[in-house]
Symmetry: D2
Amino acid sequence: MSENSLNYLSKEKINVAVLGAAGVVGQVFVQALSHHAWFTLAAVIGSDSKAGKLYSAETQWLLPSPLPEPATKLILENLDMDSLKKRGIRIIFSALPAEAAKTIEPTLREKGFYIFSNAGALRYEKDVPILIPEVNPEALANIKNQGFPNKGFVVTNANCSTTGLAVALAPLKKFGIKEVFVSTYQSISGAGYPGLASFDIMNNTIPYIQGEEEKMIVELEKILELGAAVYPHCVRVPVLFGHLETVWLSFEKPVETDDIRGAWQKFECAHPGLPSLPLHPVVYSDESRFPQSKMSFWGSPSGMQVFTGRLRKEKERVGFSLLVNNLVKGAAGGAIANAELFLHTYGYECGLNTGGQEVNDEKDRG
Amino acid sequence: MSENSLNYLSKEKINVAVLGAAGVVGQVFVQALSHHAWFTLAAVIGSDSKAGKLYSAETQWLLPSPLPEPATKLILENLDMDSLKKRGIRIIFSALPAEAAKTIEPTLREKGFYIFSNAGALRYEKDVPILIPEVNPEALANIKNQGFPNKGFVVTNANCSTTGLAVALAPLKKFGIKEVFVSTYQSISGAGYPGLASFDIMNNTIPYIQGEEEKMIVELEKILELGAAVYPHCVRVPVLFGHLETVWLSFEKPVETDDIRGAWQKFECAHPGLPSLPLHPVVYSDESRFPQSKMSFWGSPSGMQVFTGRLRKEKERVGFSLLVNNLVKGAAGGAIANAELFLHTYGYECGLNTGGQEVNDEKDRG
Amino acid sequence: MSENSLNYLSKEKINVAVLGAAGVVGQVFVQALSHHAWFTLAAVIGSDSKAGKLYSAETQWLLPSPLPEPATKLILENLDMDSLKKRGIRIIFSALPAEAAKTIEPTLREKGFYIFSNAGALRYEKDVPILIPEVNPEALANIKNQGFPNKGFVVTNANCSTTGLAVALAPLKKFGIKEVFVSTYQSISGAGYPGLASFDIMNNTIPYIQGEEEKMIVELEKILELGAAVYPHCVRVPVLFGHLETVWLSFEKPVETDDIRGAWQKFECAHPGLPSLPLHPVVYSDESRFPQSKMSFWGSPSGMQVFTGRLRKEKERVGFSLLVNNLVKGAAGGAIANAELFLHTYGYECGLNTGGQEVNDEKDRG
Amino acid sequence: MSENSLNYLSKEKINVAVLGAAGVVGQVFVQALSHHAWFTLAAVIGSDSKAGKLYSAETQWLLPSPLPEPATKLILENLDMDSLKKRGIRIIFSALPAEAAKTIEPTLREKGFYIFSNAGALRYEKDVPILIPEVNPEALANIKNQGFPNKGFVVTNANCSTTGLAVALAPLKKFGIKEVFVSTYQSISGAGYPGLASFDIMNNTIPYIQGEEEKMIVELEKILELGAAVYPHCVRVPVLFGHLETVWLSFEKPVETDDIRGAWQKFECAHPGLPSLPLHPVVYSDESRFPQSKMSFWGSPSGMQVFTGRLRKEKERVGFSLLVNNLVKGAAGGAIANAELFLHTYGYECGLNTGGQEVNDEKDRG
């Protein structure tokens, strides 16, 4: 987490739960929430059969740093809404598989919980925002159409590969993006655990990821409202973490690479004081081998930023490459940032912010 | 080699030499020529310091099948043109690095040798064809502008990633290709040996290959004369063999995916009786996970074919994926096929075909 | 297959079946039997649900060369013993999972079928031989204790990592092996398909393979009857094919490395005229980087040989490394060689050899 | 770094330099020293040609977390002893290649510098300790035989694979270790940068690392003085970070696995208050798949601990597996710990500790 994030509620942190804590995205939630400035991870919810067992013992830990010390004591629970409420838990981060999410998340919403979900199940419901705080913070207001504050709500983050692209394109929207050609180089962690068989992907690339290309088209439009044509190819590559993407764009207006470079450099997050959000959502470098998949760093700021490079113009089109950490910015980290934005915006309204401190929106200088 | 290739010169095979035999492309030449129907590999030429030593002892063998038995007896030679001529060697396959090729290949040509080169050094000379027999056989005639038959000549094959694309696009040229968006997933064998450091590419992708994107643009135009705009991204991935490519095309005329599918299925090689050339240069499948890098098979026909799949239409554009074995069709195998076409076309003229047999152009049914 | 293998039954090949043809070992059976000198692959048997469908369409092909042409026409069948018998099929190669093998193989044996099984299920039955023709051909006679020729029988090949070790140790038995320390570097293909999750094994090694160390201890003793103490460590590494093993031995008598080297070089197969068996079961090289996993070649002889290297003495112990192709010599190829030895030995007795040709035991010189 | 390490010299940190800062071990020095409790990284010394340039710009960064912010401002220097002395730099961490170290390190020592070297060049000099603070802290006293405090000295850490083994064996020494059989699974980062060609190691294992087996034998004896016979096999595997090792031991006395388990659990560092040294040098788990290469975590404590598992007895021998982070505990982290022990022991004597604070040896509870 960025060091200059302010301690929003210094007197007491807010208890939160993670649903689907055993999977790889669940693990990133656990890791990121173990030392979070505003949240205390108070409940990890898994399958009923494992309830009562130690989270650390039941989890095949998949991340490149050890299970954080606070998480070593967590006990897996089954989903018991009364129990959650008794402990003051209203915010739930969901790393459920799509099928499970489809039935569980609406129920939780109905019961008044605030769901920040990485699942795709409800993303295409009209009033469920696909939220990226740096990109479309205004979409958060849709939670009122879901019944908030009388009821709960679901806020989703975008599909991992869409997230990287949406962040990189957001500051270019003003140039009138007409066409987006994108090819992805998606790491195996994007397929969850156990995900792909090693026999299938070692020493191989697979130019097909079920439903992924459709998601990019639909989600990019819902988030950015570009009205652009999107032409994706989604490909799995034998890399553990990080999604690289190569892009060609066309614009309504004449655009030079300096315009693009400048737009990325000037692009600043409106809420960088939120713990997970860096001031600069996009980091551009002219160095010829920037970015690369291995730059999929963890935590904030590096894991929450989109890295762009290889910018060039060919005839009237502009090409570049981007990298997004699919598990941090593209999944759990994105959902946590969404919860931070919610708390910052509606904390008073829903009684989660009793201390009255304001978020300091001073910018990071990292 | 395809089983139904005819033995062109049954009485005596033609002696050939490989220049730069130690590198990875050199090794594929050695492998493919060890049991070739028309050629006998009579000389392997390396650096002077290794002359006189056993090829098998000096070579770090890199291919997934053992050094062929006939090649175990080859002795490395330095480049001695008189010695080559005394042994009746006129045809030389060059796997030289670009820098070395720039000076050596013109000298050999001047001295009357027929060079089939995988090096990029002379590809952009006006009269040096970039030849793919299935695609632009007419380009072979340019050797006359180089002085053949009075002098020697250089015939090149295309850059590995360009080769795959050119073969897939050739039968679509009739639809009027206007724009080509291509992203590559290039294996490390394309960088030669030792090539990339393992530290750089293991668990990583690198969206930059020096000069590669420029080559695709220039070479595709020289081969196909599409007059199209080409937008490439060339990316290295942690795979040993095979270049995958994702493509979006636009056309001057309305084109349906069935038109594309049909064009590939009907596309036949004009000279499938040549030992290395399969009847069907493009193999298409509708199966969702076809093609993949691991389908980089060896020999002919599979190693000489371009596999296409994932065909679909999005608005007015057509997308697909392709796979080319960068070392076979995209390098040594392509150069050998070029030599076969030359022999078929000009064998009588240059006295290399004394037997008078005709190539049987009957098609394979494989 | 080795080129100088004689055509045992030139007038008619023997129909055989493969049980469990969809898995990775099943695929190696299909590949090796598609062009076998003595056998015709007449039936591929899978799960009932796929019966009637094309083998090529239902199989996720995992091997590094394409599905052989004869196999493209095979139709998956369910296990119907009457149907097999009607087609004269007596020999069945089993690539069943251990659980399934435990019930199916005894039934088939009871019904008179000759089972050459890669499954571990019956390996430890007293009268079921674990057979490696170069090592313990005499064990084949145990089929009589199973009731042959009145009944059928089961002959197993050893576990893949045990096979490599047993072949390398066989010619050293005469020195009185007292202790065997062995650490394995086992490829993921040894775990079958889908086998390990990519998330578990990419960029990782795992020093635990369930039951593997016990198998090495028990099977090595059953095959070689060394009476030696065996200390194994079995480790999975991120490699597709081939099991490397490092070994330290102690002996009852003083032994020099030259004794070992000589024993390997003099070690010859008693039946090299059998189609799959090379004359030299062990190939030794003093080259410092021999062997390596990537030398896991296919077919015979290279895929059927064990490669040894790095031979050295430290105090009174001898160390070396070995490589075995776990899918060929260590699985399907080994089982096929067992069937060849059976046919050579008992062909007349069971009426499978009506032609009366003798196997020519002339040695290969490869 | 462990959180409870005390700030040794709170008033002022000690300026240190890194020699050979561009390589992979140099980078781990830079990373670990960027936020060190006692040291300030004041000079990064590279080749003369790069002197004056920004370290961050000249370095191909190889580690899985970003270059630390303090290091982004460092300027590469050439080796200027006067300049170093003017800035009060006496402690130099050396990541030089062996050849360079052989001439440079003795010169620096002669001039009064305190060298903590990862290079193997001087390891076998009688008075140069191979130091592992948890294992043989008494060896530090040998610096007096090199002339300290009147002159400088060289203290080395062990070869990476030896380090892991020495730490695991240290608490077992009391049982009388007679024989050590060890096979390594060494990551490519142990070969430095650029190190192995990707073509050589991807999808491969190589059972030969030049000089490595000899190092293990000699260094283990110098550090532990076991008088034991050591039988190593050193193998490179396609993994980025971490060296796994499989071990079989024999003892002079009867030993049960519980004795071993207990010895590891009771094994405590005598100086856990030093910033880099965890209380428990060995972390044992009975879980079947512990340890694995991917548990090569960074920083302290996890990167400084040796993980052991798979403990079992076979006849009278004891087997287990271990994992060491070859770049942290096995290289830069080990050298830094050595410098901490030196400062703790001789800080007053050499005037580097003017503040008079004592190290608090309270143990970590992590």
